[in-house]
């Protein structure tokens, strides 16, 4: 049997750590004592600020470009050794009814949120398997994967696909001590949801027992839990973090 590494000090690779949820998660992982490698397509003041952080490694890569992912995984491995943990966080949401959505927007969501996440997972797994120290993968999904929301069909499909991957991989990797779980946040205050109208916001808040939109920080505890040994017997699950919106 493989055992999981003590979490602290382990290398966690997180896609899309430049802003929004990813930024909050990178901060939290660093505070928790992980070494973190992350990338986005463009740098941000936050990513620039990590240049002086010895426990962080920052690069540029595009989820839609496998060669760039490959180069990033290799560079991050040279810096911190092969990742023990992976957080698939990079994502895009483009809303609009499917009938009038540009095919290129459908493709963009599929290639970033789903195909990209799968190819990045594949690359990281290749190094994880050699380590034989187990590992943990957390896929950032969405409540939209399991509930119908008009205008988000393509986005929902990418996140539903991600949850399906979570369950299949949990079975595939269980005997290697690699756990795979999803976190499904509800609406979070990030750039992704800046387009919501006041009316939409009010409706979400009204439907949420805990009475507000989520904040990126709300996802921190669940992520640290799923990565940690405290979740050592948890795999193949989707943990909903939505203030009760979908309960």
């Amino acid at each position: 049997m493989t055992t999981s590494l003590p979490s602290a000090g382990g290398h966690v690779l997180l896609s899309g750590g430049s802003r929004g949820l990813g930024q909050a998660l990178v901060r939290a992982l660093l505070s928790a004592g992980y070494r973190v490698s992350t990338f986005a397509r463009r740098s941000t003041p936050f990513l620039d600020s990590l240049a002086t952080e010895p426990a962080a490694f920052v690069g540029t890569a595009d989820m839609a470009d496998e060669a760039s992912l490959r180069a990033f995984v290799a560079a991050a491995g040279r810096r911190f050794g092969p990742p023990w943990g992976l957080v698939n966080c990079a994502g895009v949401a483009i809303d609009g009814v499917l009938a009038s959505m540009a095919p290129s927007d459908v493709e963009k969501m599929m290639s970033t949120n789903l195909t990209g996440a799968m190819l990045l997972t594949r690359l990281v797994l290749r190094t994880m398997l050699l380590q034989r120290q187990g590992g943990a993968i957390v896929n950032i999904s969405s409540i939209i994967a399991s509930r119908g929301y008009s205008g988000l069909a393509a986005y929902a499909a990418t996140k539903g696909g991600m949850d399906a991957m979570t369950r299949a991989l949990a079975r595939e990797l269980g005997d290697r001590g690699i756990r795979v779980n999803s976190i499904a946040p509800g609406y979070l205050e990030t750039e992704m949801t800046h387009g919501l109208t006041d009316q939409q916001r009010e409706m979400i808040v009204r439907r949420t027992p805990l009475g507000r939109l989520g904040r990126p920080e709300d996802v921190v505890g669940p992520l640290l839990f799923l990565l940690s040994d405290a979740a050592g017997f948890v795999t193949g699950q989707t943990l909903t973090v939505d203030g009760g919106t979908t309960c």
Binding site: R126, L130, E172, L173
Partner: protein, 79 residues
């Protein structure tokens, strides 16, 4: 003495068996690359990654190359 390509390939297989806590069967060019060898699909995935590290190339990058069924079929792929 430098190892030959088949010797290097056999060594990679033996490492994977050892890591799985199993004794490697006798490896021969005729050994079939399937479950009867005693390795599971994930073990074969690991073999492929280790062979890439060993030889610096990955002939499996686009799937299993045609005609690869026995250990000996790998020799020419990495030659």
């Amino acid at each position: 003495m430098t190892e030959t390509v088949p010797q290097r390939i056999h060594r990679v297989f033996r490492d994977v068996f050892a890591n799985r806590g199993r004794r490697s069967p006798e490896l021969m060019a005729e050994s079939p690359l399937d479950a009867s060898l005693g390795l599971e699909s994930l073990d074969f995935a690991e073999v492929v990654v280790r062979l890439e590290m060993e030889f610096g190339v990955d002939p499996f990058a686009n799937g299993v190359p045609a005609g690869v069924r026995r250990l000996g079929d790998l020799y020419r792929l990495y030659a």
